[in-house]
Symmetry: C2
Subunit: 195 residues, 2 copies
DNA sequence: ACCTGAACACCGTTCAAGT
DNA sequence: ACCTGAACACCGTTCAAGT
């Protein structure tokens, strides 16, 4: 039974179980000992793969940013050709990710992590590039004014992140007050960035 | 020496020392035991005033929201009559608070706290009212379009919060890239909300 | 009322061993 | 290489006492 961890996949299992634990009871309940117990491994086994607890959190963080960037790219690509639709789709994807991957989101942006900053993570940069690319699209088609795409993308990122973190509405997935507010916010951004 | 805590101010001292600890080493380093040691009181003394650790954090949070609302109001009142100046002053105050009161900010919005949500805190609502009042000012003088002041204030709050949390620039207090970005973001918001 | 010391059930982390 | 058990220095929290 414990034999399956003798093949080098313990690391992945530790990450997976860690995410589950955070999902269930928050990042403060993440405990190397409990993870070990849950997957049937000794308390010190995790130290084979992670020098300390913070390193496991960093690995979860990395996986989270990677999934995050994937989500934004997928939403953009699935939205078709209409620019406004693409813009809103990516914003919605940001919010959806924060809802559907609470654990990742908490570890990615939580205070528990020492090494913060999305710019330090390759996948974090990839996610940012989705926003920046969208700004460039808008500029190319004349919907957005000229200006530094970095600054403009940061404004969009900050607004999305603020909405995700403050969570004014409880649900941004279903049709309702949440999606209405999101469209409202997206319109203000588009008009503020507009020519 | 310990006598000074026999007059009912232990509660306040606990909060104060807790804030210091968070400032120095982050919210995860906040420990009832260490606070007790630091102020020269037994390990169980804090339990006279706070049923559990989370209650001390909640008290710090409350004090933080109160100081936060004070900051925003003071910035608005000190900004004079020009609407754009008032709008930017409050945004800047939001960012400054997050820098100068790192500990408060971390506890107020951190994942460690169970009872989140600014709307549940009276001072949190007071801070929100500053933004909402500013929206109404803008509407009254014809700078902002008609629309639900609640929704519009949320957009401003979200943007401010996102910038504060993501901390693209390291310093928003001094003159430099930080303040330039802030003015850029404020302009986009004003134009997005404009008539 | 407010404070104390001892105790319990947890942590992260280390280390000497085991296969 | 990968895993284990015992151990150390920490936590939060409780409880029977002390003044």
């Amino acid at each position: 039974v414990a034999e399956k961890y003798h093949h080098g996949n313990l690391r992945a299992v530790l990450i997976e179980e860690g995410v589950k634990l955070v999902e269930e009871r928050g990042v403060n309940a993440l405990t190397l000992r409990e993870i070990g117990d849950r997957i049937g491994v000794s308390r010190t086994a995790p130290y084979r793969h992670f020098g300390e607890k913070a390193d496991l959190l960093a690995a979860i963080r990395e996986a989270g940013f990677s999934a995050f960037a994937d989500s934004l790219e997928a939403a953009r690509d699935a939205a078709g050709a209409d620019f406004t639709a693409r813009f809103e789709a990516v914003g919605l994807a940001y919010l959806r990710f924060s809802e559907e991957h609470r654990a990742y989101f908490e570890v990615m942006f939580g205070a528990g992590c020492v090494r913060n900053g999305t710019a330090e993570d390759p996948a974090g940069r990839r996610a940012f590039e989705v926003l920046k690319g969208l700004i460039r699209e808008g500029q190319a088609m004349g919907a957005f004014r000229a200006g530094d795409p970095n600054m403009m993308a940061r404004v969009v990122w900050a607004m999305s992140h603020g909405i995700a973190v403050l969570r004014f509405e409880t649900d941004y997935s279903a049709e309702g007050a949440g999606t209405r507010f999101l469209q409202f916010a997206a319109r203000i951004l588009r008009e503020g960035l507009g020519v």
